[in-house]
């Protein structure tokens, strides 16, 4: 059963000419409106027959366009996209902070949204008072907060400072208290913006654990992050937004792949240059892909990079490829073998990924050139972390060595090693 249903959702912002920071059309000064109206009136009087000239200073911006999707109860949904793709606007519309310009949303449950850490915290009030205040702002009732008070305090690890005004808190304590309150929300739908980016690593881990727990309890979670590892860990479903439009909705691993592909194309298009004073990246490509980005586990793949050495370098320039899996963690790194010194010129470096080596999944390739000197530290000439991406699929044929098993086979590698089985006794 779908818990959130979005139809033809759009959100338009009006962008003014005299923008202040942030770019959105903020509040106008009354003075501007008055002078503007007066000027318009004056123009009317002077040229009563001229057409009404629309204000050209104003521009429309659709932060969201024609979004359609349905989210099932209990889904954990990751929303990804570049900056300005509309992620935060979508969360704001879903949590009723702002109204949509077009379309319709049906929500079947209690929503709590966490778009900022410690919304409504008052610096003059004590930790205890702020727990009640923040809880109420996030939608908890007083009795709920009372019932969970001890748990919240314990989670936040600030027992000793409960009666200290939060303005005396360190930023770490502040964040911990704020999260502790948020973590004990029990809505049907939890909407979380990129708030986990703050706080120390250990506490982040604790929060992630808590969020996973929330998901396991059957609550629906909508989660925005730039951290693909977090997204893939936490969510099953992914939504990719691109310039306000729904680019993809489906399996989270596919969504992550889509996102990386889009960002690769963008890098190429935006001619972001990877170079140093001594070398530059000219291009990178994959050879052997069946369609846009797929190979099967039985295919070989060649990764190729072209680069120019611009001047004599008195070290060894070693091309290397970095392979990442979809959550952003490393699969492996490999550097070229037996490199000798390279005189200036254009080079092409290739490396072959053997068949039956990588497991199913999305991979990202970073291309880099590193100079190693006889003595002293090495130097990275360039490193394009998201140069290429490909997808390995299992065609599930007889070579796949599955014996009819259709489920996922875990692991980054999927070698077919040499086996021998010998009968030893009856």
């Amino acid at each position: 059963m779908s818990i959130i249903k979005v139809e033809n959702l759009g959100k338009k912002y009006i962008i003014g000419h005299d923008l202040n920071a942030g770019g959105a059309f903020r509040s106008r000064a009354l003075r501007d409106t008055l002078t503007h109206t007066a000027r318009g009136l004056y123009q009317r009087l002077r040229h009563p027959l001229s057409p009404n000239v629309e204000n050209t200073e104003i521009e429309e911006l659709w932060a969201l366009k024609n979004l359609e999707f349905e989210i099932e109860a209990g889904d954990r949904v990751g929303i990804i996209g570049r900056n300005g793709a509309g992620k935060s606007t979508l969360l704001k519309v879903l949590s009723r902070i702002t109204e949509p310009t077009t379309g319709r949303i049906e929500i079947d449950g209690r929503v709590a949204s966490l778009l900022e850490v410690g919304t409504g915290f008052h610096p003059e009030l004590s930790g205890r008072e702020n727990i009640f205040l923040n809880g109420a702002i996030l939608g908890m009732t007083r009795s709920e907060i009372k019932a969970k008070f001890d748990e919240i305090v314990e989670f936040s690890e600030i027992e000793r400072f409960l009666d200290t005004p939060v303005k005396r808190f360190s930023s770490g304590m502040y964040v911990r208290l704020a999260f502790a309150v948020a973590a004990h929300l029990e809505p049907d739908i939890l909407i979380v913006d990129e708030v986990l980016a703050v706080g120390d690593a250990q506490f982040q881990k604790k929060c992630l654990g808590k969020m996973e727990e929330v998901g396991k309890e059957g609550r629906t979670v909508l989660f925005v992050s730039h951290n693909m590892a977090m997204i893939s860990n936490l969510c099953q479903t992914g939504i990719v937004l691109n310039e306000g439009e729904l680019e993809f909705f489906g399996q989270v691993s596919d969504a992550v792949t889509k996102y990386y592909q889009a960002s690769n194309q963008r890098d190429a298009a935006h001619e972001r240059e990877f170079k140093s004073d001594a070398a530059e990246l000219l291009g990178a490509e994959l050879i052997g892909l069946s369609n846009l980005s797929d190979i099967t586990i039985h295919d070989e793949l060649i990764v190729r990079m072209r680069y120019r050495i611009k001047k004599q370098i008195d070290g060894k320039c070693v091309p290397n490829f970095h392979f990442f899996v979809s959550d952003g963690s490393y699969a492996f790194v490999d550097s070229a073998k037996d490199v000798t010194s390279m005189p200036p010129g254009v080079y092409c470096a290739e490396c072959k990924i053997p068949r039956q080596f990588l497991n199913e999944g999305a991979y990202f390739v970073g291309v880099a050139l590193t100079t190693y000197f006889e003595t002293g530290p090495w130097k990275i000439e360039f490193f394009d972390k998201n140069a290429l991406t490909f997808n390995v699929v299992d065609p599930m044929d007889e070579r796949s060595n599955r014996y009819g098993y259709g489920g996922p086979i875990p692991g980054v590698v999927r070698p077919q090693l040499d086996w021998s089985i010998a009968k030893e006794s009856q």
């Binding site: 903020r26 509040s27 106008r28 000064a29 077009t102 929500i107 919304t119």
Partner: protein, 271 residues
């Protein structure tokens, strides 16, 4: 829990139900504002005592001693202070409430709740100040040995009228303040003028009879006259003016609320 439907351009039908379910937040926010105000206890309380007291002294000297205005047969400080009570309540609500959305901007852009809660909480703080002022007035009355009559039981009714007028204007101004940020600078000026055109420093009996009804177009005239009628006891009440004030205050509340609801939709985008 019934299904929530958000549709572009449609009015939220559950608005009042929402308001009910957020009443705890209203109480907590009011509690926060009161707490913050009186956290630095000495300054907080002293300020709410001193301000009306000083204004009262100035008015007593200027209107009572220098201009020799009539005092309705009561000590001039009591005449002034009886009017200062509702005026202070009204102007504090409008001042605080008018800027309340801006000062809570981060909350408005980060979480949903019926926005009307915010300007309304400003009234709760003003109410606490009002109660403190009642104590001061009682002290004054003991000092001048003035005994109120039975009419004093009607005081809450006039306070209610002040609240209605204050809320209506607060809704209007707070919404305007979000859209037109420099309105903030105009607001204290308007409130200041209000103090002089309302019968705070003088009795409204100085207004010629034929102008009384027009003078009552200011809802605070009805409120202040009512306070004096209830507290001083022997001042006559100009009832037609009072009912006009009631009507206008209600009209203000309805239009203020309607305007607020219309503007509310874009608060988060604009603030």
């Amino acid at each position: 829990m019934s299904k929530l439907v958000i549709e572009a351009g449609k009015v939220n039908r559950r608005y009042f139900k929402d308001l009910m379910s957020y009443r705890e937040l209203f109480l907590l926010l009011a509690w926060r504002d009161v707490l913050v105000r009186y956290k630095q206890t000495i300054i907080g309380v002293a300020w709410s005592v001193l301000r009306p007291l000083l204004t009262m002294i100035v008015f007593t000297i200027v209107f009572g001693r220098l201009a020799k205005m009539p005092s309705e047969g009561v000590a001039y400080p009591i005449l002034v202070y009886a009017a200062m009570l509702p005026w202070q309540f009204f102007s504090n609500t409008v001042n605080e409430g008018g800027n309340s959305l801006i000062s809570n901007a981060s909350m408005i852009s980060k979480v949903y709740f019926p926005r009307i809660i915010i300007p309304t909480t400003a009234m709760v703080v003003s109410l606490i100040d009002f109660l403190i002022s009642i104590l001061i007035l009682s002290t004054l009355m003991v000092w001048y040995q003035h005994v109120p009559t039975w009419k004093v039981v009607f005081l809450p009714m006039f306070l209610g009228l002040a609240a209605i007028a204050a809320l209506g204007i607060t809704f209007l101004i707070s919404a305007l303040n979000v859209k037109y940020r420099d309105f903030r600078h105009v607001l204290p000026f308007i409130v200041q003028i209000g103090l002089y055109i309302s019968p705070v420093g003088f009795s409204s009996t100085v207004v010629p009879e034929k102008w009384r009804l027009i003078y009552s177009l200011n809802p605070m005239v009805g409120v202040i006259d009512g306070f004096r009628w209830a507290i001083i006891g022997n001042t006559p009440m100009y009832w037609p003016g009072f009912w006009l004030s009631v009507g206008l205050a209600l009209l203000l509340l309805v239009t203020g609320f309607g305007f607020f609801r219309r503007m509310e939709r874009e608060f988060a985008d604009v603030i």
